[in-house]
């Protein structure tokens, strides 16, 4: 376990340094171009590039997770609102040996999805959508939560934040440069070049061309690095989930349900926060086996097949073997040093009955979950009707519309 985290750290630091190198060389080239081929200008460019990076880092470190949770309109919930969700998170917290219970949020969205955030295991939060809660049974919910807790344990959130900022800085810098070039070429900067010495002019043009190419390529390269890393981490989180729950089928069938869901994509996600979700929040219709390089998530069908391939045990070694069976790739997913010899036996399903309810009932459940989150009072009447009273309801009692019995509203403040 600790070996895996350490190996993760090593890989991330290496890739992060690569991204930093891309950022700094881009800064150098741009600086050189604007100062007319001068190396001093290049160093100023480096300083500006690192300045942008530093500011973005400071913003996201002081309040990154709060911004994300607020942007997705997530609401903090307690045990009473959804006891099952709360219990499942606590079970996984115990299994993973987290030092503190993560905060739990529910997002009012019918698209089933979930994410984890927070820089360290002490400050972590887990957020799920109401659609997810309505569709999954207990075992499936446990699989999804275990996946999120694995992200926390593997320190993936720290990585996503760091790498996302680096990516953002590179994109910002190259955008500013390319736009600047476009406008200055309209404004007759050509005269300036031609007025200088002949040899210097040629060297400048070479630098200019190299910089334009770099400004176009750098964001693409950084994107590929970012996506490659986050895809690998998705697999690792799946492996961690199987190991924690000892029941890979739970996560597999949850992923299946989520991918077959007709609900529209999550409207509060964007491209940089995408790696934090359990499945890619951007759906592309009819492209289930989308194994292109620009996806933050591995194809769901592949993740499901790997999980279903775990028939003997649920250790990291078993997952790694299943991974090479399914993808036919020789590259090791998990470093050998991280695979301690352990026997991880599988267990059986806890809930035999599949939760296959009609669509109308699911929609009503989503509504009920959100009403609980928003502190509605639920009053069951003897005639079988349940009344849902909003917190701003005036008056101390309510009459049942079917049998006209009067009910007092509890805890009215």
């Amino acid at each position: 376990m600790w070996e895996l985290i350490r190996a993760n750290k090593r890989n991330s630091i290496f890739l992060m340094m690569l991204m930093a190198a891309v950022l700094l060389s881009l800064g150098f080239l741009i600086g050189a171009v604007f100062s007319g081929g001068n190396t001093n200008g290049g160093f100023i460019g480096i300083m500006i590039a690192s300045g942008i990076w530093l500011i973005l880092t400071m913003i996201s470190f002081s309040s990154g997770d709060q911004i994300l949770l607020a942007a997705s309109r997530a609401k903090l919930v307690t045990h009473d609102v959804h006891p099952q969700l709360f219990n499942v998170v606590e079970e996984m917290k115990i299994a993973a040996g987290l030092p503190k219970m993560p905060k739990i949020y529910i997002i009012n969205d019918p698209a089933p999805n979930a994410f984890a955030t927070g820089r360290s295991p002490e400050t972590a939060s887990v957020a799920v959508t109401a659609g997810l809660l309505a569709r999954l049974n207990r075992d499936e919910l446990q699989g999804v939560i275990a996946h999120e807790i694995s992200h926390i344990v593997h320190r993936d959130i720290l990585f996503v934040t760091f790498a996302g900022i680096m990516l953002g800085s590179i994109v910002l810098l190259s955008q500013v440069f390319l736009r600047g070039m476009f406008y200055s070429s309209l404004g007759g900067s050509r005269r300036r070049y031609s007025s200088e010495g002949r040899g210097g002019g040629q060297a400048q043009i070479v630098i200019l061309i190299i910089t334009i190419i770099a400004a176009i390529l750098a964001p693409i390269m950084a994107n590929l690095l970012y996506f490659a890393l986050s895809r690998k981490r998705e697999y690792l989180a799946d492996a961690g989930a199987a190991r924690l729950t000892r029941y890979p089928e739970g996560l597999a069938s949850a992923l299946e349900k989520i991918s077959n869901d007709p609900a529209p994509q999550l409207d509060s996600a964007n491209k940089v926060t995408a790696p934090m979700y359990i499945v890619n929040p951007f759906k592309r219709k009819g492209q289930m086996k989308l194994s292109d390089l620009t996806s933050t998530h591995p194809p769901i069908s592949e993740r499901i097949r790997i999980l279903r391939n775990l028939t003997h045990g649920a250790s990291f070694k078993d997952y790694s073997e299943a991974y090479s069976n399914v993808t036919h790739s020789k590259a090791a997913l998990i470093p050998n040093s991280a695979m301690t010899k352990e026997q991880v036996a599988l267990r059986e399903a806890q809930e035999k009955a599949a939760k296959q309810e009609r669509k109308e009932k699911q929609t009503r459940q989503i509504g009920d979950i959100m009403r609980k989150v928003n502190q509605f009072a639920f009053i069951p009447c003897a005639c079988g009707l349940t009344m849902k009273i909003p917190p701003n309801f005036k008056g101390n009692d309510v009459t049942c519309p079917r049998c006209h019995k009067k009910h007092e509203i509890p805890n009215k403040t």
Binding site: P83, Q84, N87, V88, E91, I94, G97, R347, K352
Partner: protein, 188 residues
């Protein structure tokens, strides 16, 4: 004269390295032992919680299940036995028996549809089944920690230091009876 100093210097460096090495292993052992203790306390918390929930469960179910006195008695007895246990192997035996009594009770509940529709009962049931899971997961995590700790104590060179400072092997939390081994299987 100079030769003697060099030899002394080398010996000193070797001693310093040896001491640092021993300190490192000692600290690693202490860390592992604390992790084992911490996971044990996690199990303990959940077992206590289960003991607390049982009277609640019995109270809710009693009104509906008038003819099942034997089942209730079995649970209550298993509970008090489990609460009285005071070492790891006794506790795992008694808790195993309690789990068994509870899963028998849950089978009987299947015959009482009215009870199964009761909101209070459903709430207690969710708490109990979750506590059951938490016990299983805490045990899983405890056994993982014990495996790591015992390995460290038995393997060279840390076994020498473990012997010097009397670090002793820990017991796994195991379930005595074969049927229970496939936990968590209490199906609600």
């Amino acid at each position: 004269m100079g030769g003697v100093l060099v030899v002394l210097g080398i010996i000193l460096v070797v001693i310093v390295f040896l001491v640092l090495f021993i300190i490192g292993i000692y600290n690693a052992l202490v860390r592992l032992r604390n992790q084992v203790d911490n996971s044990w306390s996690q199990i303990d918390v959940q077992l206590k919680r289960r003991h607390d929930l049982i009277p609640n469960l019995v109270e809710t179910a009693k009104g509906y299940m008038k003819h099942e006195r034997g089942t209730f008695e079995a649970i209550t007895e298993a509970r008090s036995k489990a609460m009285g246990a005071n070492n790891v192997s006794d506790a795992s035996k008694a808790e195993g028996a309690l789990s068994e009594a509870l899963s028998k009770f849950m089978l009987v509940v299947e015959n009482y549809p009215e009870l199964k529709a009761n909101q209070n009962f459903l709430a207690v049931q969710e708490e109990l089944s979750s506590t059951e899971n938490k016990i299983a997961f805490a045990r899983q995590s405890y056994n993982d920690q014990v495996l790591g700790y015992n390995n460290k104590i038995q393997m060279f060179p840390s076994n020498v230091i473990a012997g010097m400072f009397s670090f002793t092997k820990r017991d796994f939390f195991e379930i005595e009876n074969e049927a229970e081994r496939e936990v968590p299987k209490v199906s609600f």
